[in-house]
Amino acid sequence: MNPWLIVGLIGLGTYLTRLSFVAVFGRFGVPPWLAAPLRYVGPAVLAALAAPAVIAPGDAIDVTSGNPRFFAAVVALLVALRTKSVAWTIVAGMGTLWLLQAVW
């Protein structure tokens, strides 16, 4: 599929998601069967996106010194939990990765 079409469809779908209750369902509110799963979309999807990229960056699970990204991610996670800051997390994660790549 043409990548512009993909982006366009995501844009359209995102707009309709934002418009949804404002335009149509305003009177009903979010039904409980939908509200519960929505609470866990963030944690589940973001963890599913991040985990393979740091634990198995080369497709095979590797948490040894052969995979500095794993250790850099652990440092970044601790900084993220502490600071809640995108900037500091990137600084800590990239800094650790560069350091380990230089040392190992």
């Binding site: 995501i10 779908g13 934002r18 996106l49």
Partner: protein, 214 residues
């Protein structure tokens, strides 16, 4: 708005850099800013396109990431009902985590629909304009950065910090751990379909833990 913008700048820069490095191309990668205008979903689109994911997987994942807007839409619907149609259909384009947060807080202190709609427009555009600029700057800079800098690693780092912000309780933590485990287990499934499965399994785990705890 200012403190919110500070957090958005590094995210926007990284998004631009990611766009420049992805097979999606610098132009379309940046164009996700005006077309989608939702950081996490844009990053998902850029990252998954680069990973060769199936179109349906890219679209489904991005829209699932954006499903949280349903909650915002529901919470704002009551306030927006008094707006003229054009505003009611236009303003949702500017709906973001940040615009929602500042508006719903301010709406608690006023009943004036005229003020409410201008406030939302201000909050929305206050984020929209810098976002377009910052992601463009990132895309231009990103094209200059050599691959040896491993800047692609900033993408999972952004997902990580967004993750720490989204986990607020025990069921959320379970959803994250189960989602992560399932994604690693299913990473070999073609077209990144494992991601969708992992997300659904993680969400289900969160819902189940929430039910059990009650």
């Amino acid at each position: 708005m200012a403190p919110l913008l500070v957090g958005v700048i590094p995210f926007g820069l990284i998004l631009g850099v990611a766009a420049a490095a992805s097979s999606i191309g610098t132009m379309l990668g940046w164009a996700t800013s005006p077309i989608i205008f939702a950081g996490a979903a844009q990053l998902v689109t850029i990252e998954l396109t680069n990973a060769g994911a199936a179109a349906a997987v890219v679209i489904a994942t991005a829209l699932v990431v954006n499903a949280r807007h349903l909650m915002y839409s529901a919470a704002l619907a009551d306030h927006f009902r008094a707006f003229p149609t054009r505003w009611r259909y236009g303003l949702p384009y500017l709906m973001t985590d940040q615009a929602f947060a500042v508006s719903i807080t301010r709406y608690a202190t006023t009943d004036d629909p005229l003020y409410k709609r201008w406030f939302f427009l201000g909050a929305g555009l206050g984020l929209w304009a810098p976002w377009q600029v910052v992601t463009a700057v990132g895309a231009v800079l990103g094209a200059q950065v050599p691959e040896s800098w491993s800047l692609d690693f900033a993408i999972p780092l952004v997902f990580l910090v967004l993750l720490t912000l989204s986990v607020r309780d025990r069921p959320g933590l379970v959803a994250a751990v189960v989602g992560a485990t399932a994604a690693i287990a299913g990473r070999g499934i073609p077209y990144r379909l494992g991601l969708i499965v992992a997300a659904m399994v993680g969400i289900a785990a969160g819902v189940i833990v929430e039910r059990v705890r009650r």
